[in-house]
Amino acid sequence: MIKVTIKCFSQVKYAFGKDELNLELETGTSTLELENIIREKAKGKLDTVSLRIALNQKYIPIQTELKDGDEVAFIPPVQGG
């Protein structure tokens, strides 16, 4: 098992009412699998929201196997400016 921290922003934060989620996952879980877990946990609230994945504060273009201690963020469309 591995432990990961999920940072929540904007619509993700709104869906969970939390800044951060701490999850225990099967060893070998990928970022894409985690996204599915998160979307399911949100019970439909994120169905229309497109999410990019940042792993340890960097956008990653393809799915990646998670490691113990990773920081993950599912990034809703950004809105700076």
Binding site: Q11, A73, P77, Q79, G80
Partner: protein, 138 residues
């Protein structure tokens, strides 16, 4: 050269500079909060950042912009936290030899900022409700 700041509180503008010998063009963009967000009346926006990553991405973007457009300097301040209607949320200054590269650089920089810098807006409605501002890139 680039200077990047993410500030919690009113933005102090970068100061005037009459000492430059080779920069003919100084272009400044100030983004202000408007009273309506997606048709909804608001009293303020609250900007949220991914602390650390927002600064990293903004710095990287500034450096990309300076290289891509042959401008000399790009300074940028982005405000986070509550910003009332009318106030400045984004302040960008670009110095270049001629105006054309400055205008092109400004156009690209802001458009990319709105694609990749992890900052979000929460709308604060007249009744005090606080909700994620819908939608995304213009």
């Amino acid at each position: 050269m680039t200077k990047i700041e993410i500030v919690n509180g009113p933005i102090g503008f970068f100061s005037n500079d009459n000492s430059r010998q080779q920069d003919g063009a100084e272009l400044v963009f100030n983004g202000h909060v408007r009273a309506t967000e997606y048709g909804e009346k608001i009293t303020a926006l609250e900007y949220e950042q991914y602390e650390g990553m927002a600064k990293t991405e903004l710095t990287k973007l500034s450096e990309d912009t300076v290289k891509k457009f042959f401008i000399h300097d790009l300074f940028c301040k982005h405000r986070i936290g509550r910003v009332d209607v009318g106030e400045t949320s984004l302040h960008v200054v670009i110095w270049s030899k001629h105006r054309k590269e400055g205008l092109d650089a400004m156009t690209w920089f802001i458009s990319e900022l709105k694609k990749r810098v992890p900052i979000w807006k929460w709308a604060i409605l007249n009744d005090g409700t606080r909700i994620p501002s819908e939608c995304s890139h213009e």
